[in-house]
């Protein structure tokens, strides 16, 4: 039997909590957590260091709330989805009737890489809907850019108000509608310079060789190897599922490597492509999902020339 506003609801109850002071955050989050503990529901906090510390110090000693490493879970959207899906499956298998989580994306995610977190907020309405999860996504309005607020306002089907009311969100857009929208994708500043590599119709092996030649030594080995995998998967997808010509470009900066892969086709039809592993492996969905697991930012756009995927390894611009 579920408790709270999700009682009678079978899947994911996804709430946005936009707060403007620490007092508002605590006034909303503490009853949420203590109510979960009282009901015997697995109850988690996945906040950043400062806000997590605030909550921790405000909770009664010994209360059975588990703190998750927010920074690790929210390293990348796909990491968060994979981690939470595994956790939720385990808890339900152990008999949980409802799981409560309050989480927040890291502050750096509110900058130039926000677009893939916006897609995350939309996609999890489906990704977590197999489980009885009630979550609050906390956003501090004092540091929240307008574009972030606009996306939060349409990706959460429910809101919790600062005075603790849990309400349906009349502005909610179903994830498929949100994910199919064309968003402006500002170029990475590094793209103002001439690409170090520019190839038309490369094989995946040629693209990998160019990345190896141009990017060696800039990043830790594991991170660089994962980027090579991502480039290879993306070029392979372009050649297999896109329309010619496939174009590959690569830039190297002092702290990051950026690659774009374009083709003349419309891009993947699946709005969740990249965020959820696709069963339709023949359509390239698994390769795109691996790419999202292997880079520090992945974004895409469509224009008159076709579809472009941009991959970033290293440190994306901070804005």
């Amino acid at each position: 039997m579920r408790t709270g506003p999700a009682a009678g609801h079978s899947g994911y109850h996804h709430e946005a909590l936009c707060y403007s002071s620490d007092e508002e955050l605590l006034a909303t989050v503490l009853p949420f957590l203590l109510g979960g503990v009282e009901a015997g529901e697995p109850t988690f906090v996945a906040l950043g260091e400062r806000t997590g510390g605030l909550v921790r110090s405000a909770l009664p000693a010994g209360v059975k709330v588990e703190f998750l490493p927010g920074g690790d879970i929210y390293a990348r959207p796909t990491v968060a989805i994979r981690t939470y899906r595994r956790l939720l499956a385990e808890l339900v298998a152990e008999g949980a009737n409802q799981i409560r989580i309050v989480g927040e994306v890291p502050r750096i995610a509110l900058g130039p890489t926000w677009d893939w977190w916006a897609r995350y907020e939309a996609a999890i309405n489906r990704a977590y809907d197999d489980w009885p999860l009630w979550s609050m996504c906390a956003y501090d309005t004092r540091i929240m850019p307008g574009i972030v607020r606009a996306d939060v306002d349409v990706t959460h089907p429910y809101v919790v108000t600062p005075d603790g009311q849990h309400l349906p969100n009349p502005g909610y857009l179903p994830p498929e509608a949100f994910l199919c929208q064309q968003r402006p994708v500002p170029p990475d500043p590094i793209q103002a310079s001439r690409p170090l590599v520019e190839l038309t119709g490369p094989s995946a092996a040629q693209a990998r060789a160019e990345v190896q030649r141009a990017g060696q030594g800039l990043l830790p080995d594991d991170e660089f190897d994962d980027f090579v995998v991502a480039v290879s998967e993306t070029v392979t997808n372009g050649l297999r599922h896109g329309q010619p010509p496939v174009r590959f470009r690569l830039w190297r900066g002092t702290d990051r490597i950026v690659a774009t892969v374009s083709d003349a086709g419309p891009g993947p039809a699946d709005p969740y492509a990249g965020l959820l592993p696709s069963d339709a492996a023949e359509l390239g969905g698994l390769g795109l999902w691996i790419t999202h697991q292997s880079c520090n930012h992945v974004t895409h756009y469509r224009d008159a020339d076709g579809f472009t995927l941009r991959l970033t390894a290293g440190r994306p611009p901070a804005g």
Partner: protein, 56 residues
């Protein structure tokens, strides 16, 4: 056991195929690979019929 330690690159399609080959034979295939990238990729794909041994 398959020694792929001299291969410079293995993509996810190859790993999925190898795991399928092992599954058909109700076996676990051990893939020896150089570097940790293949192991990370296999872990992502959650292929119970494939185990990667990293040769340093």
């Amino acid at each position: 056991m398959l020694d792929a330690s001299r291969l410079r690159f293995v993509d996810h399609r190859a790993l999925v195929r190898l795991a399928g080959y092992a599954r058909q034979r109700e076996a676990v295939l051990v893939l020896r690979a150089a570097g940790t990238g293949v192991a990370r990729l296999a872990a992502l794909l959650e292929l119970p019929d494939l185990r990667v041994e990293v040769i340093r």
